[in-house]
Symmetry: C3
Subunit: 437 residues, 3 copies
């Protein structure tokens, strides 16, 4: 009686990987044609409504920036060879660079060239969103191969008033209580830190749309990092009170284990649910305290917003060597890892949906289960039957203060067993939902 | 200055064992002549008022069942030998079996025959209270000795409207605040799981009646399991608000260590007191979380009743191999174990009675103990005297929020030392009882 | 941007040791000329106001005792030799002894002679404040050297109506919120248990007077133990509500590690601050639970007063062999230990002063730090910069519920880094003080 079914992992993994392959070449940024193209491709998979906000609009303490588009960029040596070439990798240009056309000696160019000496073959990823600037990224090896002399530099980009875009996929449940799942869409050719989140969200949306009897409405946000969530929050203030739970979905394709960064609330229902799901899965995982750093949970958890948002990822930002480099590529993400991430998200959403607090409608002593066919009538031989134990646990703790997850934890019984027992008791009018549901 | 004296263990152990020997042969059930006879024997030891409730009476979600009486039962082989004989052991009949007289081939009889293959020489104990049925219990060895052929089956029992009985022994204290101690009286020839609880309660009642200056009234319930406590609760709703603490007294004669299953409240005073008494005794013991399963704490702890009831036993139900078999017999229970259980209960009741919260009536700085003769007047040499430390601990924490047990735990001093210090300070008008007492 | 500077340890240690040398010979008691002389010497170092209260005055449950003065005391043998001589050590007389002149055989004298057999060369320290009595203290060796015979005994003391004195050094801050630091001045020639506290408080007062921008007013009490703090509390009832934190300063010159005995509140701000300072210092130390015994924290923590007073010492009372003996002398205390104690106190007072709760004035999402010059504008390369992390931690948790110390502990960042971040954000009008400040 699940609310959300588990995915069929192999085909789902293949579909997610294929979507990543398709999105990988696009040069995304926080604004501009890369975002537009990305949202169009997502829209071919699931229903996504695209929202726009004009450059210059005030959003809380911030201003919507200009749109950035880029056609070409290179550094040519004196022989006319492109020693750095945007067309080879969009990571070569500092993202959001202003246009430049110049000829410079190497010494003058060098301060504009970013490398990662610890990984001499990789191109690092750099941005300069909120300070007008320009620069190139290249491998340390490539830098060392550059001889003295003069270089022709071109960045054929435009920064002009336009729009900031994001996409929303809204999947209604039977109530207006919402779960937000947010993933960022602003990184160029980075596979894990960006595209894995998009792919898992797309596939998860399909699972949710196929599900029946879900209570929660789910809103998936495909947004540019930081500025996108600030824009969304600023445009949706009246909606915030509907949000019950939130997850930031990132880094879901790498081979590492699952990590959960708890919400600022520390013991919110989303925290309890994710921790339980990860623990019940019986695999290595890590639970981390909240910190006001990382992905968009920073904005959703700012003290004036303070929504219960966790971040459920595989390896967290900055903890894998490939992070923010050209090595976060199509080899780094794996269909099996994507499928496992999807399965975990599906289980979290199923558990959230089934987890409720009930009131025992026959609270004075135990109700007689035998006369309702809920109890093995021959005493003495059935003490260990967990199905019957689950009924007793649900009845005893359905006092409006304990939800089913509390009862599962207290009893040591599986959540689904407890939730099934609650379904059975509901069917016998021995329970009623507590609180607002 | 104890409220309840410690028992003289050797004669008390002998008396309890003798009572068990006397009660052992009786075929008890949740109703019927076995219960009547048992209560009559208890009444020869301590004042017990017998309460009755008619079959068919609605008690919460339940109905008082019919009275069951049994005169004989057997399975005879073709030669007329009683291969299963109620007169040899009352466990041979599924308790509460309806009458039957039939001749059956072995194959047809077998589904009615219950054994315990793990212990082939023991007869298991089975009941069928709430579904009309019949059956026999026998050892696996006996079953295997039965040859093919036809068997004559008789259960000469009656199920008819009558009464459900229980006994109450009320020992008044100086207040109407009550402690309930409940033990079940519905099992046939089982020594530990049934009779040990009765024997300890009887002897404990004598100790309480001999005590002076007890605050709490104590009500001992000798009741059929489940249905008895449901009946009692349903008939005593107006009295529930007086109940401060409760214990279910079971399995008190086996050689295992003491176990305490905490109340649903988890940190009720009864929980803190029993845990402290067991710990202070310095012997191996076990503290277990509440679970909505076990003995009558299930009913007293149902969410609509929610009284602070723990279960203080030796080995808990189902954790000793002899549980619910013919091996739970007179050899399994020991006078020394009964005496140790009694001593533990006496200490718990003494501690409950002495444990109070006080208000320091001289709370601005320390009162001058020296001028009251409470302090060694030569400073410098008496720092380690625990008697004086106890006075200071009681004075400092008698703020109405800490009871004497809290103070004992905080200070690391023995509860009796702390309680004696409180008596001394009360005598000097430096304390007054806090709250309702 | 400290509120209280760290001391220059070597000269401060030398000054404190010199003060102890000067105070050591004086025969102090809870009243009398020794206290007067001691306060006069302190007054030569720092501004101290002397308060007086007449003998016989009722102070809570106590009465101000008579003034004690002593001119000479001895026990002479039959040859006229002073075998016990007050002039050799003021510990030889039981402190507060009434006058006596008598000639007694050794057997009659012996009950009046106190020794410490465990340390046969040391003179123990004994008092008899609240029971009129007399006696002598001497080494076990000296006692054993006394032959049978008759002894001339003189104690040339006076007990007469007079005054109880204490000194207060008040160092105003920008608010009327007060920190009390209390040290006792009633012990005669004992260097650690008495004079070390005086010396550290004197030097700390100088540091505080040199500091700028301190919020808290600090009141240092130089008072006779027990009766002095009772007198002070009884005379300052209307001032108690201003007291935010308190420390009892004792045993600050011995070679042992720092010990902190927590306040009765257990988790008061003073407890959190001292624990953090000791932990951050990275040296061995000990945190102890509150107990209603020890020094004047007993009175400040009585349930009717209940102020958050801890006791910050090196080795606690009774835990060093030299405690309350002639071996607690000028050799036992060390300038380096005094200087380390002073440094610890200065750090505690600095942390208390800087520790506040703030409100984030831009709480909807993160404020844009970049446009205020608070953030490295090139994304991707500065993730680990702790200065920027500190800004984010302070912004996120400045919700009025967390003070800077909470944030330091949560973030794992140094308190000063967090406090500096708060200063920076205050300067940008991104924070405002929460609550009463």
């Amino acid at each position: 009686m699940s609310a959300v079914s588990a995915p069929d992992k192999e085909p789902a993994g293949a579909r997610m990987y294929a979507l990543i392959e398709r999105l990988y070449p696009i040069c995304r940024s926080i604004t501009g044609p890369g975002v537009v193209e990305t949202l169009e491709i997502i829209r071919q998979e699931i229903p996504v409504k695209i929202h726009r906000i004009a450059s210059g609009t005030e959003i809380f303490d911030w201003t919507v920036p200009q749109e950035w588009s880029i056609r070409d960029a290179y550094v040519k040596d004196e022989k006319g060879n492109r020693v750095i070439d945007f067309k080879a990798s969009n990571l070569h240009v500092v993202n959001y660079s202003r246009p430049i056309r110049a000829t410079l000696p190497l010494a003058a160019l060098k301060p504009r060239l970013h490398t990662d000496p610890a990984h001499p073959a990789w191109i690092p990823y750099r941005t300069s969103y909120y300070k007008e600037d320009w620069g190139f990224c290249l491998s340390q090896n490539a830098l060392e191969a550059m001889s003295e002399g003069s270089y022709e530099v071109l960045i054929d980009s435009t920064l002009s008033d336009g729009e900031l875009l994001w996409g929303e996929c809204f999947i209604p449940g039977t109530t207006t209580d919402e779960i937000i799942i947010s993933t960022h869409i602003c990184h160029p050719s980075l596979a894990n830190d960006n595209l894995s989140g998009i792919a898992v969200c797309v596939e998860l949306a399909k699972l949710l749309m196929a599900a029946k009897r879900r209570r929660y409405s789910v809103r998936m946000l495909f947004i540019p990092g930081t500025i996108g969530s600030i824009a969304w929050l600023s445009m949706n203030r009246e909606r915030l009170s509907r949000i019950r739970h939130g997850l930031v979905a990132v880094n879901l394709g790498d081979p590492g284990m699952m990590h959960y960064k708890k919400s600022r609330h520390e013991t919110a229902e989303i925290d309890r649910v994710v921790e339980h799901v990860l623990k019940a899965a019986g695999q290595a995982h890590s639970i981390m305290a909240f910190s006001p750093y990382g992905y968009d949970e920073r904005q959703f958890s700012s003290p004036g917003i303070n929504l219960p948002f966790g971040c459920l990822s595989r390896t967290p930002y900055g903890r894998f060597a490939e992070y923010h480099t050209s090595a976060d590529n199509l080899d780094f993400v794996k269909p099996e890892a994507l499928a496992h991430s999807l399965e975990t998200y599906a289980c979290v959403l199923d558990t959230l949906d089934r987890n409720r607090a009930f009131l025992n409608l026959s609270p004075m002593c135990e109700p007689q289960l035998g006369k309702r066919g809920l109890y093995d009538a021959v005493g003495g031989k059935s003490d260990t039957k967990t199905r019957q134990l689950a009924l007793l646990w649900v009845l005893n703790y359905s006092d409006g203060k304990h939800d089913l997850l509390d009862i599962a934890v207290k009893s040591g019984l599986a959540f689904d067993l407890i939730a099934d027992a609650a379904d059975l008791l509901l069917g016998q009018d021995l329970l009623a939902p507590a609180q607002r549901d």
